[in-house]
């Protein structure tokens, strides 16, 4: 990487999507200026400028150019810093499969997960079931492999592992026991944290994430 490369990450400490990018950058050994956004109260001028349409993090700013959306950022990182630690596999079919499941996590799993801690009543009950179904499908995709990427930690592992930091929140508010229903997923998550510094170095405390979700629920008027 050239000496004058400027990499800034607009982020929020508890965001799974921000975590994806942090892990990707760490895998590639890229130094960056890490900036926390105050999403609940006061988004920065830079964020509003760099992502005017969605006003969301993560945003990667590389030499002044913004790249938005975690999956898009991961692919950008992989294509730009292509000399080490490939995130996506080289085989076209394996790539397609990884992209399919990453999309499933971003769309289906995250949507169901949000409802698990944000809703009540019938909607909540439905979301609990949906969320567990999503996790079971992902466990099926993992199978007996050490990582979703096979022998090596890759794009799909990066896309999913951040959600593990939210499991305590999902379990508490969803009244779920994920380890009981999806033991292979829990084993995989622990394996990622034990074997990958890129994960363990950036991983937030589950209890801190849980406290954040408690705060969020109060703000949304779900809990008093």
């Amino acid at each position: 990487m050239a000496e004058n490369e400027e990499v800034i990450l607009l982020d929020f400490w508890a965001s799974m999507f921000g975590m994806r990018v942090r892990i990707g950058l760490a895998e590639k050994g890229i130094s960056y200026d890490h900036r926390q956004e105050d999403l609940l109260e006061n988004k920065s001028q830079l964020l509003l400028e760099m992502n005017p349409i969605h006003k969301k993090i993560p945003v990667l700013i590389h030499n002044g150019k913004p790249i938005c959306e975690s999956s898009i950022i991961l692919e950008y990182i992989d294509e730009t810093w292509n000399d080490k630690a490939p995130l996506l596999p080289s085989d076209a079919y394996a790539k397609a499969r990884a992209r399919f499941w990453a999309g499933f996590i971003t769309n289906k799993l995250d949507q169901a997960g949000r409802k698990v801690y944000r809703t009540k009543g019938e909607e909540h009950e439905k979301s609990r079931q949906e969320f567990m179904e999503c996790l079971k499908l992902l466990e099926g995709e993992l199978g007996d492999k050490p990582f979703f990427g096979g022998e090596n930690f890759g794009y799909l592992d990066v896309s999913f592992i951040p959600f593990y930091s939210w499991f305590q929140a999902y379990e508490t508010y969803g009244n779920l026991n994920i380890e009981l229903e999806c033991p292979k997923l829990i084993a995989w998550a622990k394996r990622c944290i034990q074997n990958k510094e890129s994960v363990s170095n950036i991983f937030p405390d589950s209890s801190k994430v849980f406290a954040f979700v408690q705060l969020l629920r109060k703000k949304l008027g779900i809990d008093d």
């Binding site: 076209a92 079919y93 397609a96 992209r99 399919f100």
Partner: protein, 231 residues
């Protein structure tokens, strides 16, 4: 140049997501067997090929497991045949920009059309129409930026965003007529208006677009199976 590499595409005529894949197969001159699905009565093949979503399109290539999701399929085809009419640009920043707009189109813009259909309240409908128009303004700006002054999003010829947005043009026409408003017009979105005409007459696109009867059939099916909300 044609290839017979054993491609099968599961689809329905009225699905813009299926049409998208067909555009790419045409642009790359890839031969394929088209298997028509009846979405009201899904085949065993569809249910086993896409158990997660049970939706079309699904691409089956030779003896590999099936690939669902139109954008995933398009990138797969681009990687399998990188030298024949590349769909995505090669520069990582341009690729990210293209993918960003695809995500906007699929997750923010097109869902408004279904919202419009399902909303019974007149005032709410007007609000959604306004959002659609704002979306088209953003897409006009995107066209200016991505095309870099050329005729297509992809430059001199059709590329990624031409297929990703182009596939909705038949539905755009249908919704404009039904709801009596212009989504793409000469005054607000002049560049897109010219682009629309190019896409309608483009070799790889023109025979794929469904006719108004096909669209009406799908529309009626949606009205029955996923009716508008009650007021």
């Amino acid at each position: 140049m044609t290839k017979s590499d054993g491609f099968k595409l599961l689809g329905t005529a009225a699905s813009p997501f299926v049409n998208r894949v067909q555009f790419v197969l045409n642009l790359k001159s890839i031969e394929y067997e088209y298997i028509v699905e009846n979405l009201a009565c899904k085949s065993e093949l569809l249910l086993t090929s896409n158990p997660v979503y049970q939706k079309v399109p699904v691409l089956i290539h030779a003896n590999k497991p099936p690939i669902p999701e139109s954008l995933v399929i398009i990138e797969y085809l681009d990687e399998m045949y990188p030298d024949v009419h590349p769909i995505l640009p090669s520069n990582p920043l341009d690729r990210a920009e293209n993918r960003f707009w695809a995500s906007y189109i699929d997750n923010k813009f097109f869902p408004l059309f279904e919202e419009l259909r399902k909303t019974p309240d007149k005032e709410e409908k007007e609000a959604i129409k306004k959002q659609i128009i704002e979306g088209s303004q953003l897409l006009e700006e995107a066209f200016v930026k991505v095309s870099k002054g050329k005729d297509y999003f992809g430059g001199d010829d059709a590329g990624y965003l031409d297929v990703v947005l182009g596939c909705f043009l038949a539905w755009v026409k249908f919704v404009e007529k039904r709801n009596e408003f212009n989504i793409i017009d000469e005054v607000r979105t002049p560049k897109l208006k010219k682009w629309v005409n190019r896409i309608w007459s483009h070799e790889a696109f023109k025979d794929v677009f469904p006719g108004s009867e096909t669209l009406m059939n799908l529309f009626m099916m949606l009205q029955t199976h996923k009716p508008p909300r009650k007021i």
